[in-house]
Structures are given as C-alpha cells and as structure tokens.
Symmetry: C2
Subunit: 136 residues, 2 copies
DNA sequence: CAATATCGTACTAGTAATAGTTACGATTAG
DNA sequence: CTAATCGTAACTATTACTAGTACGATATTG
C-alpha cells in the first residue's frame, strides 16, 4: 500500500493559508503540494465537516481557514479523515474457533490499541501554531 | 495494501508445535493456516535466523521449536520479520526545503516513533506461554 | 442570460505490501 | 536410487490506499 500522507500535507497547507487572509483555490493549493486539484478537494472536504475550513463555489471561491492555528490539533485533522486502523499489522482469521488463535489475536489487538492510544495522545498535543517558523 | 498477519499466524503455529514434540512439515503447518507450504517456509525461515526454530531437509524433516514458549515474546517474532514502519501513515515529501513542511514532518515523526515504542513495549510483555488455554 | 471560475464526485489508474502459486533445485534417510 | 522435504526464484492475486480524468453543479460578473 502506498502510505497515507494526508495529515502532514494538510497541516502544511493550513499553515500557509493562515499567512494569507481570504481564500485559496484548489488549484493554488494543488500547486503547493505538487498534485491535482481533485486530491486537494478530497482532503479539504474532510476538514470542512469538522468546521476547520469552508469552501465557496464559483468565481472568487475557494477554501478559507475558519479557525486560528492554535485551535487546530493534529488529532483534529487525523480524526477528520475518519481513518481506519493506522497499522499495517492485523490479526489473523484462519481458524476463528481455535482458542490459541483467539488468544493470539486478543494479545495482539491489545498491543495495537495501546499503541493507537499513544499515537492519538501525541497528536493531541501538536497544534498548528507550533509549526510556525520562529521569529528568532 | 493488504494487512500483515504474519505475527498472529506464526504465534498460533508455534503454540501448536509445542504440543507435539518432534517436527512438523511445512505441509502440515500450511494446512493449519489454510495456506500454502511456501508461505510457511517464508515465515518460518525468518524465525530460524533468530534461533527460535530449526529446519531439517529430507524424509522425517520439518520444523522444530528450539526454545520454550515462555522464552519467546511477540517482540522477538515481530523483529524477526525485519519490519519496516508498522504504520500506514507517513510524512510528506513535497517541498523538502519548506520550513513549515519540515516542522510538520518533525512533529508527525515524533508522534509515530512514540507510538511505535509503545507498541514494541506492549509486544515485549507477551510471551507465547500466555496463549495456552487455561487448565482451570 | 451567457461565460467563466470554481467546487463536487463518480469512475479509473497507479502503487506497494503481503499472500498465494508454480516450478524446480538441493539435501538427506532408507 | 527413490522419495520426502526444505530452499528459493518468479510470477500472479489481493487489498487498501493515493493519484488522476472527466464531467456535472453552482455562483459571480457583465
């Protein structure tokens, strides 16, 4: 599978958007990310549902940042994408009735959920304003 | 990407192998996992390098468990597979010179490595003998 | 109302990892 | 020598993504 880079990319974009009041079009943002406007619409669309950005159609439309950077965390963004498991590792399903397989799956699931909880905890501490360049 | 189920599957197999002294052929193990002997050889081959199992060729050959279950942890198995990142999430690489992107990548990398450390810590506490059915 | 800018979205293509399969060679017991 | 078994290369299938194409919907402007 190719990796999911949406979180890092959109964090990057939102910080740049905060530099310019007004709206940025999908095309402009796509140029920033070396990609296609459709990719941008998909990513930004997910954030819109959480109220972090808004969009307007038609001429002079585009995307607008709706919250200050310090009020948006990596966890907010991560959850906006409605992600499945962030792991490439999963339990097995060969013999669902085998008590040994079930015990192995239970142990692995616990380790995965502990790691996922730690990941979300770390994400919750990162706000977008922390990404601003220091003004020495 | 399809998910990596090797850890759960091989843990299951090793526990069953402990029930029978002697060797188990790749074919026998493959039947247990509903798969093909070649898949088994690939998975078991990785464990052989860590000394957890050994293999013998020729008639009456097969795979033998070389360590007691309580001395094999999920972390031992996980590392035997020489895994890359266990995450589906990665940093972005669109504008490596942009200070904002770099800051976003740094923050995300830290969260990922904290979660990975937690995962390995959890795996290190699971020994295979914990998967044995309780004899009430 | 016409023209154009812009988002919305369904559909297809590309990608990267494990899983599965086939084929065949190497080794060893008897 | 024969048969059982592992070793491994090469190829295909599956899965779950991201990336890209095409076209429709909507809103502004004159």
């Amino acid at each position: 599978m190719s990796k999911d880079t949406r979180l890092a990319r959109v964090a990057h974009v939102l910080v740049h958007m905060s530099f310019n009041e007004g709206t940025a079009t999908s095309e402009t943002i796509a140029a920033m990310l070396d990609t296609n406007p459709v990719v941008v619409r998909r990513i930004m669309g997910a954030l819109r549902e959480g109220g972090y950005v808004s969009s307007e159609r038609g001429p002079n439309g585009g995307w607008r940042l709706e919250r200050p950077l310090r009020e948006i965390t990596f966890l907010n963004i991560y959850r906006a994408f409605d992600p499945g498991s962030p792991f490439t590792i999963a339990t097995s399903d060969d013999h669902p009735k085998c008590v040994v397989e079930r015990a192995a799956n239970r142990a692995l699931s616990l380790a995965l959920s502990e790691a996922a909880a730690r990941f979300e905890q770390s994400l919750s501490k990162i706000t977008l304003d922390q990404l601003l360049p220091r003004k020495t």
